[in-house]
């Protein structure tokens, strides 16, 4: 008898669990669960977190585990090959430890990447919402500006600006961000156009909601997914852009090297120290790849129809 009660009890709980599972998940919970089940995204996330943490804790790691600072010269071991003379990834022409400098290098590269994404996602979202929602002359104005900014030869302009105004991390990110919002605006505007004529927007308007309320309460939450994806791809292009700029010698000149700076310094050692070329580029590649895959995974998670 007691057994019977027990089994029915169990059945009841599994039934409740199943019912709960079958309940419509919220949009974000659904996207998050799809995202966390995507193996590629999770692998990319793990790699990215490891790289980001080692950049953030570079001072601690290099002091306790590697025993060098980023500017410490080991004059008896110039251009040491990886694995020799207690330098895991070799040294540069001044005998500075390559691994330590690579750890620090992530700081600048990642900061610039994410700052640019923040700025251009913000501008892009704002202009996209305004243009898409109001339409008319505002849309024309935004479109016109979009066409103009999209055609600026970005690299040339950044180099010239960096000659005249020595860029800091923040000013570089700001100029980069101010010039790279057009793609975002177009995406957000498209999303707004498809949302604008939904019934719930009409309903909100009928009940007397102000434009500001409609935009904040009804549009913005529906755009979060698009913005996240767009910002992810912004990080990709900003990190590659910063690396290219620093490689040419017009990036941020700080005592701490960035990955692009390291590549720039490595140029004169093609033949005698190719590891100085390999590792910074490899790190840029892996980091950018992770961010790219994460953005791609987010897009699929938010919009499962896009999946193959």
């Amino acid at each position: 008898m007691s057994e019977l009660v027990n089994t029915t009890g169990k059945a009841a709980t599994t039934l409740a669990a199943r019912r709960k599972r079958n309940q419509a998940q919220s949009f974000f919970a659904g996207a998050f669960s799809r995202f966390s089940k995507d193996k590629i995204s999770m692998v990319a996330l793990v790699f990215f977190v490891v790289i980001a943490l080692s950049a953030i804790f570079a001072p601690f790691i290099s002091k306790t585990f590697l025993g060098y600072t980023y500017e410490e010269l080991d004059l008896t071991n110039l251009l040491a090959a990886p694995g020799t003379a207690n330098h895991l990834l070799g040294t540069d022409e001044l005998g500075r430890d390559n691994l330590v400098r690579l750890l620090y290098g992530g700081q600048v590269s990642l900061t610039v990447g994410f700052l640019v994404a923040l700025i251009s996602a913000f501008i892009g979202t704002f202009l996209g919402i305004v243009a898409g929602y109001f339409g008319g002359w505002i849309d024309d104005l935004v479109n016109g500006t979009y066409q103009i900014v999209a055609n600026v030869p970005l690299l040339f302009l950044l180099i010239i600006l960096s000659i005249f105004f020595k860029p800091t991390v923040f000013t570089l990110a700001l100029t980069f961000g101010l010039l790279s919002w057009p793609g975002n605006t177009r995406q957000i505007r498209g999303a707004v156009l498809s949302l604008r004529n939904r019934d719930y927007i009409d309903a909100a308007r009928v009940t007397g909601a102000s434009n500001r309320r409609i935009m904040w309460v009804h549009l913005v939450p529906n755009l979060v997914s698009t913005v996240l994806v767009v910002a992810g791809f912004d990080v990709v292009s900003a990190m590659l852009g910063e690396a290219g700029l620093s490689f040419l010698g017009y990036g941020i000149s700080v005592p701490v090297p960035s990955w692009g700076n390291l590549l720039s310094d490595a140029q004169s050692h093609y033949t005698d120290a190719p590891w100085l070329v390999y590792f910074p580029g490899l790190l840029i590649f892996i980091t950018v790849l992770c961010v790219f895959l994460l953005a791609d995974g987010l897009r699929d998670a938010f919009d499962p129809r896009l999946r193959n």
């Binding site: 005249f164 590649f285 193959n308």
Partner: protein, 312 residues
Amino acid sequence: MTRFIIRRVIQSLILLWVIMTLSFVLTRLAPGGPAALYFENKNIGPDQIAAIRKARGLDDPLILQYFRWLWQTITLDFGESLSYARRPVIEVIGAKIGPTFQLGLFSYLLALAGVPLGVFAARRRGKWGDNVVRIFTVVGSAVPTFWLGLVVIIILINTIHWFPQGQGTGGLGDWFIHIIFPALILSSGGVVAFTRFVRNETIEVLSQDYVRTAQSKGLSARKVSQQHVLRNSLIPVVTLLGAYLPGVLGGAAITETIFNWPGMGQLFITAANARDYSVILSILIIGTFLTLVGTLMADIAYGWVDPRIRYS
């Protein structure tokens, strides 16, 4: 259509004016003022500088200087270069346009390899052929192209003890072996962009009703793909041809520097290193102009090949 073209021309002119004005402002902000642009020589005394200022009209009201400068720039008078033996800037740049044009055209042609690749991937959507192409595009989007160039050079040095530098001096074969590596590196971004774009477009077109109609009325698969799918999926590629142009010009700065290709991009970097302001600002203006012409032509061509697009 005419209205659309007029609007795009006006937009282009505004950007050109913004970039030109920015250049003017920057020459005034240059260390030592605009006179230093002409004579960066410490031995020149104050009275000589005064004479130069007078001769160049640098003591005139700023607004007058601005319009004079604007007129000179429009008539392709960019002044003298500082680092190239004081030769006229237009001459210095003019000599470099040819090589950049060669490299750019070559990499455009190579980038078009993305078109068949994208069609291939779309037809085998979800199968392993598609996956290989997708992995290729993802890797290609994340790899820093200049690093790829450096690695190619290192590999060439270690295997055949040679790598391409400059344009080569021999005949066509020598030219080809020198241009193919920088062109491949420069085109890598384009191949990826074209592949992704064409794949998405083809998938889109394959799901259209007119394709199903064509299939259900018994047309052969080849005929459907050639006459109905390919034609429609390739139309938007025209816009990408234009959108890719700024990337080629910017990429040329890095690729030409790595491979020592004597083009506008390399000139820009060497002039920037020498703080030759008149040359770099002129390249900025000319580069903007070329980009604008390219994208404008692509936009017009788009409206022309696709009758559904009637720009309003």
